[in-house]
């Protein structure tokens, strides 16, 4: 352990001596202070949150993310290129210890910087919140600076249902001509989704949401967070909405109706004690408009307060920290077999690929890379490349989603709780599974690599 710690503290010392820490600290603090100064908020709690929390947290994450990649690539690749690594590997220290030591050093550096940035953001928030009106401050305290638990309706496994449906139908009928089985499955899946999510004019949709054990939510006021989209996007359009909450049987009901914009989340409060003995909340929505409205999968959320902002903020930063640890592992893994510029370029490429997963999703949804005719829904015969593309895309997407499945910044700025379970799950998936995988690859290559050259 002394050896691993020696490498870690050397890495930290390098970052200090090369003034990486100083520059990053100045950049972070300047960003956190200056950004809210140059972008004016609109005086509402929501606008305030958007600028102070979302922007500054996103800035911090981006800055630290790129710096971590850059640093982790540099710290290993340059030590190998400049042959200092030769002096280390001839000492009684295993290569995995060197790799882990480097990783720990960068992780410790990130911990310091993220604590600094977090403290700066928290302070700025407290100071700037005083400028808001009393009413907006109340909204801020109730909607943003809280940790609220979110409950949503379970989404059915459309993939499985559509597959079962096709199998059942193919037992009685011949497959439709000119349409491959995967293409047919795509069509059925989309039909199933729209059947559930789309509310036609003069139709009613009912949600049954498992909110929580009745004892836990008794007497707690709740917030509904809802969003729907019209068939043709139009931001200016408003829709009249009619809502009923609670169980018909128990007669504890709450009704409300109001005009609501589309394509944006809207929050409104409902009184406590509307859930039934099973902890379920029934919600009914009547569409009395002339257009059909589509509620996306996360379009109906029930929220109630379970904690304060401080802890939530710390856990949110914890998830960001897990991401940074992953980036450190990615950078080091790249640097074990690539030179510094190439490693930096490649790992940043991987980062960008992981952030834009739209194409991957499309490949999976369309069952291949070949285009689907939007009019007929027909796909050309499945080719070899597609049989390979779909599992590869699925594998990549699932891997990326292990890290992307958390949205701490979004959660913090909408006052949604980041629980200890979320944080532990993030730690397990990001720091253990993904970083561990990258570490295994990095260490395997590092161990097999010759660290001297003919000339150096």
């Amino acid at each position: 352990m002394r050896r691993i710690l020696a490498i870690a503290s050397l890495t930290l010392r390098a970052a200090f001596r090369y003034r990486v820490v100083l520059v990053m600290a100045l950049l972070l603090v300047a960003g956190v202070i200056v950004l809210p100064l140059i972008i004016k908020d609109d005086g509402t709690a929501r606008g305030f949150t958007q600028i102070i929390l979302t922007y500054t947290l996103a800035l911090t994450t981006t800055l630290l993310g790129f710096a971590t990649l850059w640093l982790s690539c540099g710290i290993l690749a340059r030590e190998i290129e400049e042959a200092q690594m030769q002096m280390v590997v001839v000492k009684p220290i295993a290569r995995w210890q060197i790799w882990i030591g480097k990783w720990l050093g960068i992780v410790a550096l990130n911990a310091m910087l993220i604590l600094l940035a977090g403290a700066a953001i928290y302070t700025i928030m407290q100071v700037r919140a005083r400028n808001l009106t009393a009413k907006e401050q109340t909204i801020l305290q109730n909607e943003v600076l809280v940790a609220r638990k979110v409950a949503m309706e379970d989404t059915p496994d459309y993939e499985q249902i559509s597959r079962d449906l096709i199998r059942e139908r193919l037992q009685h009928e011949a497959p439709p001509e000119g349409l491959s089985i995967p293409a047919l499955q795509t069509i059925i899946r989309e039909q199933l989704k729209s059947r559930d999510q789309l509310v036609q004019p003069n139709q009613r949709r009912i949600w049954t949401i498992q909110v929580g054990p009745p004892s836990e939510v008794r007497d707690k006021p709740m917030t509904i967070r809802v969003r729907f989209d019209p068939p043709v996007p139009d931001l200016g359009e408003r829709f009249m909405t009619f809502w009923e909450f609670g169980d018909l049987a128990t007669k504890t009901q709450f009704e409300t109706n109001f005009v609501m914009p589309s394509e944006a989340f809207v929050e409104f409060p409902i009184p406590p004690n509307l859930i039934n003995d099973k902890g379920e909340l029934h919600i009914r929505f009547d569409n009395r408009n002339e257009k059909a409205l589509l509620f996306p999968e996360d379009g109906m959320q029930v929220m109630y307060r379970i904690g304060g902002f401080g802890g939530n903020f710390a856990r949110g930063l914890g998830i960001v920290f897990c991401w940074l640890a992953l980036l450190a592992a990615l950078g080091l893994a790249g640097a074990t077999f690539l030179s510094f510029p190439v490693a930096a370029f490649c790992t940043i490429g991987v980062l960008i690929l992981s952030m834009s997963t739209g194409t991957l999703k499309q490949i999976i949804e369309e069952n291949g890379i070949v285009a689907v005719d939007p009019n007929t829904g027909r796909v050309e015969e499945t080719k070899v490349v597609n049989t390979l593309a779909v599992p590869v895309a699925r594998g990549l997407l699932n891997t990326f989603n292990l890290a992307r499945g958390f949205s701490p910044i979004d959660n913090l700025s909408s006052g949604r709780a980041i629980t200890w379970t979320d944080l532990s799950q993030a730690f397990f998936q990001i720091c253990i599974l993904l970083s561990g995988g990258l570490a295994a690859i990095g260490i395997a290559i590092f161990t097999r690599r010759e660290l001297a050259t003919a000339t150096k």
Partner: protein, 403 residues
């Protein structure tokens, strides 16, 4: 002598520290096509306590061999054993000290931190680490520069701190790649004496160099590389002895005496085979004399000071721990009080078959110093004094500037 028959001089069976068999290294390009055969079917062994020299011109495969011994490069073919293990065996490395041919140290660490870091890698406890660091810095003459970052050091100072880190673990095997590169003659001599001191303690030293004087002064046995192959191997005595000639050194003799001696010699040897001259000392010895004199007159330098006594932990528990030996190791070279031998002319005689071995022994007994360190011989004090003072001034200014 066969390539594998390497039982150095003494004949007693000492354990092998290093065994190299059929070692070949082919460097390949990006497409895995052979680019250069840097080392080609090399065999040798190094016994415990030996100072073993790898000698050869630049690019002959010495450093590649050293890097394979350390596990920095992997052999294409062949087999290496270091203390009975593969060079990649981690635990074995705690017995090895390595000084690379260039300073590959962390430029942002100071001397103290450098030694502390490497000490940590050997899992040396903090108190021990501190003690050893202090002794080593004292030994390599950097105790005044312990807070200066290594990146600011001159090449010579970097070499000194490199040497210190190679010895932090009190290694059983010390591998030195061009150890005197970048050092001033004073430093070179200190390094060479240190190597000899280590060898006396039973440490094994591998020295790779293209500087013939380095190898000649300290090595028991050498291999000479050329083109990746071993061209010659053996003890220096075996390789360098010219068995058909001898040399007699005396103080300056009156002409009559010389005539008498020559007369005796001419009875056995033809006149054209006998040569008389005054031996010139080598430049290194002369330089050391001058510097020692300058130091006696006082000169404080801001750079590396001359090395001092060998670090205590490197001396502990050996016969050399006696005060007389300690004084010999480095101190002798750094103090201006070394007695200067009187000048001596040399009579060189070739083809002296008639002289018996017994006679030869008697003659050499009193003349040749027992230690491998060459004893400086010097011209008469008066005759050289003027030259010495002149050179003294020049070199003093050079030293102060260059440190």
């Amino acid at each position: 002598m066969s390539v594998l028959d390497t039982n150095a001089g003494g004949g007693q069976a000492r354990e092998n520290v290093i065994v190299v068999r059929g070692l070949t290294k082919v460097f390949k390009d990006f497409w895995n096509r052979p680019k250069a055969r840097a080392v080609d079917s090399v065999n040798f062994e190094v016994k415990r306590g030996e100072v073993f020299g790898l000698l050869g011109p630049n690019g002959s495969g010495k450093s590649t061999t050293v890097k394979m011994l350390l596990g920095l490069l992997f052999p294409t073919k062949g087999h290496i054993e270091v203390f009975g293990h593969s060079p990649r065996h981690v635990a074995t490395k705690s017995r090895i000290g390595y000084l690379p041919e260039e300073s590959y140290l962390y430029r942002y660490l100071d001397s103290d931190e450098t030694l502390d870091f490497f000490g940590n890698l050997f899992d040396i406890p903090p108190a021990e680490r501190k003690q050893r660091s202090e002794q080593l810095l004292e030994m390599v003459g950097l105790s005044k520069a312990r807070r200066r970052q290594v990146g600011e050091f001159s090449k010579g100072m970097q070499r000194r701190i490199g040497l210190a880190q190679a010895l932090i673990n009190d290694p059983d095997l010390v591998i030195l790649d061009e150890p005197t590169a970048g050092l001033d003659p004073l430093g070179c001599r200190e390094v060479k004496d240190l190597i000899l001191a280590l060898a006396r303690r039973g440490k094994t030293v591998i020295l790779s160099s293209h500087l013939l004087s380095d190898v000649e002064d300290v090595c028991d046995r050498v291999v000479i590389y050329y083109g990746g192959k071993i061209q010659a191997m053996g003890t220096l005595k075996e390789l360098l002895a010219t068995p058909d000639a001898m040399r007699i050194t005396t103080p300056i003799l009156p002409r009559a005496t010389v005539e008498k001696v020559l007369e005796v010699i001419r009875r056995d040897v033809a006149e054209d085979k006998v040569r008389i001259d005054t031996p010139t000392q080598n430049l290194e010895n002369y330089f050391l004399q001058v510097v020692n004199k300058a130091r006696a007159q006082e000169a404080d330098t801001s750079g590396a000071t001359s090395g001092n006594r060998v670090a205590e932990y490197l001396r502990a528990g050996t016969a050399e721990n006696s005060p007389s030996h300690q004084a010999r190791v480095l101190d002798r070279l750094t103090r201006g009080d070394e007695p200067i031998a009187p000048a001596a002319p040399v009579v060189q005689v070739t083809d002296v078959e008639s002289l018996s071995n017994k006679k030869l022994e008697q003659l050499t007994k009193h003349e040749v110093p027992p230690a491998p360190v060459p004893t400086p011989s010097a011209p008469p004090e008066k005759a050289r004094q003027a030259d010495l003072n002149k050179a003294n001034e020049k070199l003093s200014s050079l030293l102060n500037k260059d440190k």
